[in-house]
């Protein structure tokens, strides 16, 4: 059963990597990067599930690492989106920078 999700996780990593490489839009690259990351997390989950012993549903160590990873991935995405919006602000709909430094 967990093998099924393991194969799906492998496909998710491939899909995310493809989107990251070919998509021209930065926000879509961030989405694709999150897909790639979630594929890796699910791989951890599959390995945790395989490590189940009597009395536990899954090995707790990979689970705890994935919980930490989800939060860190969110923080990284928020920073990436902040950079992207700021970039748009300085080069896009705002006036182009004049003189030395951003407006």
């Amino acid at each position: 059963m967990s093998q099924l999700f393991g194969l799906a996780a492998a496909a998710l990593v491939g899909l995310g990597l493809y989107g990251l490489i070919v998509h021209p839009e930065p926000l879509r690259k961030i989405l694709a990067f999150n897909l790639l990351g979630s594929g890796v997390f699910v791989l951890f989950g599959v390995i945790a599930r395989r490590g189940a012993v009597v009395g536990t549903g899954a090995d707790p160590v990979p689970q705890a690492i994935v919980i930490t990873a989800i939060i860190v991935a969110f923080a990284a995405s928020a920073l990436a989106i902040g950079l992207l919006l700021r970039l748009r602000q300085t080069t896009g709909d705002a006036a182009p920078p004049t003189g030395d430094g951003p407006p």
Partner: protein, 314 residues
């Protein structure tokens, strides 16, 4: 085969379908909507992998808070299309596709060839658990065995927030996050929801925090829920976003890591090692750290969504 197997197959297929949609969708907004659905489906996958703690985190962070962040970004990026929407040439896409297929196939091979019996730390984790006074082994790993990871992760949240704040323009430094006048346009339904949900949400968050010691739950999941309630109230204009120079706000942000670090350092004297707990006090100390952590996690997540300060301080 069995119903469970059929359910898993359908779930895995749907997750892959939504993931493909996120990559190929023409509209960025549609892709973001797909990503929110994807986060919730992934939470179901975690339930099927017998990891309810991760499922709660994924549903709250992956589906909820990230969804708000991405929708806001997509809305603000719409319009001024300054990035030329040019896909790479077909041969390049083909090469990239082949590369990604090879990587996915290699990972799939690894999944199929995983060693049998599977290596596991579950018995060791369960054996040492009574010493911590906890009942949930995942909380045991997060707060006791791998406490250093959890401490550093708190610090990463604060660092990311400093990074986001430092993207502010000079004039609005120390000001209030969020564009001007958003609160005035909040629809009635949103305001109603923002009045109805937070009392329930706050109780559930505190319950998750308390429950986390023995059952699935904990400070991350509760903190994400608290953050969601705060974001909802800010979006509806019921709560003013605080200025980033607000001293109480900064205190809320650092109280989690600070308490964790203080108890960790006290471990040198009381238990002989950094981040070690003296045995009879382990559970009360862990609950104390988690209580401080939920405040910092909630504040950091909500402010990461709110973004850099954009209005100058009054």
């Amino acid at each position: 085969m069995s119903v469970a197997w059929a359910f898993d197959a359908i779930l895995a297929g749907t997750v892959l379908g939504v993931a493909a949609w996120i990559v190929v969708a023409r509209e960025t907004f549609a892709a973001v909507a797909g990503f929110i659905a994807y986060g919730l489906l992934l939470a179901l996958v975690w339930v099927r992998l017998a990891a309810p703690d991760v499922a709660l985190t994924e549903a709250a962070i992956g589906g909820g808070v990230t969804g708000v962040l991405l929708l806001g970004a997509a809305a603000r990026l719409r319009g001024g299309a300054t990035v030329p929407d040019v896909w790479p040439a077909a041969p390049l896409r083909l090469v990239a596709g082949a590369l990604c297929t090879v990587i996915a196939a290699a990972l799939a091979a690894v999944v199929l060839l995983l060693p049998e019996p599977a290596p596991t730390l579950a018995p060791q984790a369960a054996a040492a658990l009574p010493a911590t006074g906890l009942g949930n082994p995942v909380t045991g790993v997060l707060m006791a065995y791998r406490a250093l990871d959890t401490l550093l992760e708190k610090v990463v949240l604060v660092l990311a927030l400093i990074g986001v704040w430092s993207l502010a323009q000079d004039a609005s430094w120390g000001g209030v996050p969020g564009p001007q006048g958003r609160a005035a346009r909040a629809p009635d339904a949103l305001v109603f929801l923002a009045r109805l949900l937070p009392p329930v949400g706050i109780v559930v968050a505190v319950y998750l925090l308390w429950l986390g010691a023995d059952e699935p739950g904990g400070a991350f999941q509760g903190g994400a829920l608290l953050a969601a309630m705060w974001i909802l109230m800010m979006m509806a204009g019921l709560a003013a976003s605080p200025a980033v120079s607000d001293r109480r706000l900064r205190l809320a942000l650092v109280v989690g890591p600070a308490v964790f670090l203080a108890i960790g350092l006290a471990g040198f004297f009381s238990a002989g090692a950094f981040l070690a707990y003296p045995e009879p006090w382990a559970k009360p100390l862990i609950v104390l750290v988690e209580a401080a952590k939920i405040v910092s996690v909630a504040a950091a997540l909500a402010l990461l969504v709110a973004g850099p300060p954009q209005r100058s301080p009054r």
